[in-house]
């Protein structure tokens, strides 16, 4: 049974936090991180008002990684992410394709599962794919316009 998520902020903001993204909810409150390092995520955020319970698809920026370009598209239904599609993943040599083939489904599953379990944080999940996350962040940023 999947618990219904309460609001778009709890949902998308919570996922962003778990995956290490700048969350929509606190996009203006990231000075601590921003002061000491370049912002890792694309987009400027800047949300100060609650996001509406949006529905639509949002395409993230293409992010160049050392393995190749990464781009994701998210589908949001009533404020809940219902799908994450990788439009571009690294290709060109077998190793890059292998990494992409493993990482993208893992990260997508994590996005979808994290919001369904109503947890504050996850122990044991350490995978970080910066390109994927940056593109996802830029897609999330668009939700606020």
């Amino acid at each position: 049974m999947r618990r219904t998520t309460v609001t778009v902020l709890a949902t998308i903001g919570g996922i962003g936090l778990m995956l290490g993204l700048k969350s929509l909810q606190t996009a203006t409150a990231t000075t601590a991180a921003d002061n000491s390092a370049p912002p890792p995520a694309a987009g400027t955020g800047g949300a100060t008002t609650p996001a509406p319970a949006v529905t639509g698809t949002y395409t993230g920026d293409t992010v160049d990684t050392r393995y190749g370009p990464v781009q994701v598209r998210i589908t949001v239904t009533n404020g809940e992410i219902t799908d994450v599609t990788a439009l571009q993943t690294p290709s060109g040599n077998p190793r890059n394709e292998e990494i992409a083939a493993r990482a993208v489904p893992v990260l997508t599953d994590e996005v979808l599962t994290a919001q369904s379990a109503n947890v504050d944080s996850v122990s044991g999940a350490t995978y970080t794919s910066d390109g994927y996350l940056q593109s996802l962040q830029s897609a999330l940023d668009q939700i606020n316009g």
Binding site: A33, P105, S121, S123, G124, A125, T126
Partner: protein, 268 residues
Amino acid sequence: MADRLRFTEHVMGTVFSFDIRDPVTAAIRSAATEATEWLHHVDEVFSPFRRDSAVSRIARGETTPAKCPPEVADVLAMCTKAQEVSGGWFSATAGGRLDPSGLVKGWAIRGASDLLYAAGARNTCVNGGGDLQFRGAPAKGAAWRAGIADPAGPGGLAAVVVGTGMAVATSGTAERGEHILDPRTGAALDGAGIASATVVGPDITWADAYATAAFAMGPAAARRWIDTVEGHELLLVGTAGDLWVSEGLRDRTERDLLSEIVDAAYQP
């Protein structure tokens, strides 16, 4: 004044995320900056991947702990304690080279959490690459909920541990490949039937080191051992998907949130 502050920081080769559930005072904002600076400082001193870190220089015999900042000796003393408590299953030299990372990350998380606490943030979560230090509660009368990643189904959760003021650390082979070494042989461990070991305690410094030790010693020994470590509890996820939790966790563990995953896996 905002009543919540969340931010992330990429450091130590992973992502740290902070979730502060207190009115965000100027002191707390300042402590948040200090906490991220602290993590970078720890990385500079303790990273085995930085040639110029104190740990790398000690490992190459170029300096001694006594000549390094006092925190280096403090950390090595904590590693020795973790080694003693775990009967040698935690070791800062498991690979034949000094690498206290198995304790340093937890200690760094705790230090960040302490900085926030001292500034008045009493209800916080600091997540360092999947190791968690919770303080206080997420809301009045509520408890924190820590998902335990399912090692078999990446993206899924094997269980949820509920509590206030707790630390949760997980070790295993699933996320980053086999990276826990047998202190006796230096060889990578396969877990002897466990996919991940989670230790829950008050302080992530020790929970992190003890999770590594519990995974290394294997399920049978880990179950007996955890009863001897006061204030700490153990959750094991088997390679067959089975779940085992120590006595003190039984009322604090939820298994049925994602029933399609967990019902099949749970063997009472």
